[in-house]
């Protein structure tokens, strides 16, 4: 604020990982920035998983701790959505923020990093729930904070009004009309003993593999 340097200063204190990334993945690193001392690297969406794998496993990087996954949508409607991975190396005490930009015209999808970090499970589910960004390869990409039958869209998107898309009357009507089956996920209903008591159409849906396999 008062007399402070502008927050974006590309010159100062760039994480050494950036140079390593540029030499290891030429072409996949789109740009990097330093903001408030944090380094962020923009990479090509289709290479993100590969780059994250390398960052985790390379002995010079060892970003073994996934601090956070989230997404950012700007108020500027022209700007792409961003998916953000906050990485940390516990041993080296270093941080790195990796970002990909997803064009609005394209399918909002990136590869899941659940195979690298188990902690990504709920973080990716939440990002999907709030922004509608899909994570390819996530084993159980369901809504997490909103209920499974929630139909109003993705709350943290900028085109989502603060009060929701539906009127209060419509929200109440839907809540009262909710099917009891909505209280259990299909995965849970597929559990053996409960399965026998299900109505025929649900058994059929489960057998079709509609979210959650029948064991």
């Amino acid at each position: 604020m008062s007399g402070a340097a502008p927050a974006l200063d590309p010159g100062s204190a760039v994480s050494p990982s950036v140079a390593a990334l540029r030499s290891r993945f030429p072409g996949a690193i789109r740009r990097h920035q330093v903001s408030c001392g944090d380094t962020m690297v923009y990479v090509a969406p289709e290479r993100a998983h590969q780059i994250l794998t390398w960052l985790r496993d390379d002995p010079g990087q060892r970003f073994d701790y996934l601090t956070d996954i989230t997404a950012v949508e700007y108020r500027d409607r022209e700007r792409a959505l961003e998916v953000v991975w906050q990485l940390r190396s516990l041993a080296r005490k270093a941080d790195l923020r990796l970002k990909v930009e997803l064009d609005r015209g394209s399918r909002l999808e990136v590869d899941s990093v659940y195979d690298l970090w188990k902690g990504a499970d709920w973080l990716e589910r939440e990002t999907f729930d709030m922004f509608g960004i899909r994570f390819r390869g996530h084993p159980d990409l369901r809504r997490i904070l909103m209920w499974e039958t929630y139909a109003e869209g993705f709350p943290l998107r900028k085109d989502f009004p603060l009060r929701g898309h539906f009127s209060r009357a419509e929200q109440t009507r839907q809540a009262l009309a909710a099917n009891p089956e909505a209280h259990y996920s299909l995965e849970e209903l597929s559990i053996a003993a409960a399965y026998e008591e299900l109505p025929a159409d649900m058994k059929e849906r489960l057998a079709r593999g509609e979210r959650g396999a029948v064991s």
Partner: protein, 429 residues
């Protein structure tokens, strides 16, 4: 991981033929996968969302084989309030009250984290007295939160008395907190660049008295639990997770340290001058419920140490300012705003327009009682953030619950869930 044998004195001091107190060795059984049974049906049971042992509105759907847990599916979101969305419509200072309501067991620490993240974004250096007061706020919150955890976990596992001791001590801290902030829960203590208020007169005396007497309660809890056969039997070897796996699951705070990973944000990336305080970071070995209890218990002793040091510093900084000297950031006093034209303009602009942050983004994590709380701001140069992300520690810790509950008994699910120390306001946000 090594197995652990602990000599535990039985509750009734019986004597063996040689006249020594009877002790029993308590071994930790190795994990045994559930046996393949013949033809029995699995059962689906539902715990919560309204259940005292789920510590809030958490719902667990559990697949059981007899009493053995096959699978746990947690359902969250019952307390979802859309804080992150609300934050995008508010000035930075107006977000402070929202943080009270996320982790409502440590509101002051949340306030501090928010102010630090916004100050990082705006490049503000806070005053030394403000730093010390914020350290006090963080450590009071840590003790309050751990006391609630200790008391309720004791109840979950069948011990009622320590709950009363813990809540008595917590009440003493709440009284101090109330004297300082005017609220027991919705503290809204910090402002960007400073604090809402300095501590009132007599606060330091009260806190010193607390620091002097509080460890006695901890000693009593220690005597009650640490070598108690029932407590050890219910907690040792239950919900085990090793260090590398804990890191892979992005656990933080006492959950991570109980698994033997020596990582504390206060030590590894110090903020608020924590590097100048002398305190130890307790680290567990086995990563079970028992070690989480030991870690949290020891953290309360250490927090008391930090508080004492902070009080000494506070004495030295008596009369020093708590807010930065920037009229664009800090509201003028009421009398000045009413009598001085310039002060009134600054007051008006701050209230109506808010404090503008430069274009950029900042992530800042602090060591909250539950783990690493991080706030991530993205700014487009206006007075309201484009994105305010909360990195919720108990959300990530709870995500590990299905893994911790594989193959345990149903009663252990309660112990494991308690040991995670969740607070649903923060998980659902």
């Amino acid at each position: 991981m090594s197995t652990r044998t602990l000599e535990v004195e039985l509750g009734t001091p019986g004597l063996d033929p040689a006249g020594r107190p009877i002790t029993v060795p308590l071994g930790v059984p190795a994990y045994q996968p559930p046996q393949d049974d013949m033809g029995s049906e699995h059962m689906l049971i539902n715990i919560g969302p309204q259940h005292p042992a789920t510590h809030g509105v958490l719902r667990l759907v559990i697949e059981l084989d007899g009493e053995t847990v096959i699978r746990v599916v947690p359902h969250i979101g019952y307390l979802h309030s859309g804080f992150e969305k609300l934050g995008e419509y508010r000035h930075y200072n107006q977000i402070v009250p929202l943080t009270d309501r996320t982790d409502y067991l440590s509101p002051m620490a949340n306030n501090v984290c928010l102010a630090l993240a916004a100050e990082k974004l705006m490049g503000i250096e806070i005053t030394e007295r403000c730093q010390v007061l914020r350290v006090i706020a963080c450590e009071i919150s840590r003790i309050i939160s751990h006391l609630v955890w200790l008391g309720t976990t004791g109840i979950d596992l069948g011990a009622f008395t320590p709950f009363l001791w813990c809540f008595y001590q917590r009440e003493r801290l709440y009284n101090l907190q109330e004297a300082w902030t005017g609220a027991r829960l919705t503290t809204s203590l910090t402002r960007i660049g400073g604090l809402m208020a300095d501590v009132p007169e007599g606060f330091d005396v009260g806190l010193r008295e607390f620091c002097r007497t509080f460890p006695k309660t901890l000693d009593e809890v220690d005597a009650m639990f640490t070598r108690n056969a029932i407590w050890c039997g219910r907690t040792q070897g239950v919900g085990v997770i090793g260090g590398p796996e804990a890191i892979n699951y992005s656990l933080s705070g006492p959950m991570l340290r109980a698994s033997g990973v020596d990582y504390d944000v206060r030590k590894d990336r110090p903020y608020l001058g924590y590097q100048d305080y002398s305190f130890d970071v307790p680290v567990g070995e086995h990563g079970d419920v028992y070690d989480r209890y030991r870690v949290r218990l020891e953290e309360m002793y250490q927090s008391t140490r930090i508080l004492e040091q902070a009080l000494d510093r506070l004495d030295r900084l008596a009369g020093a300012p708590i807010n930065v000297a920037d009229p664009r950031l800090i509201l003028p006093s009421k009398s000045r705003a009413m009598s001085d034209m310039e002060a009134m303009i600054f007051h008006f602009k701050q209230v109506m327009e808010g404090v503008k942050a430069p274009v950029g983004e900042a992530y800042l994590g602090i060591e909250n009682p539950k783990g690493e709380l991080g706030y991530y701001f993205v700014s487009d140069g206006t007075a309201k953030p484009v994105r305010w992300r909360i990195r919720p520690p108990s959300f990530l810790n709870l995500a590990c619950l299905p893994r911790l509950c594989e193959g345990v008994l149903l009663s252990d699910v309660i112990a494991i869930n308690a040991s995670i120390d969740i607070v649903m306001g923060e998980i659902d946000r």
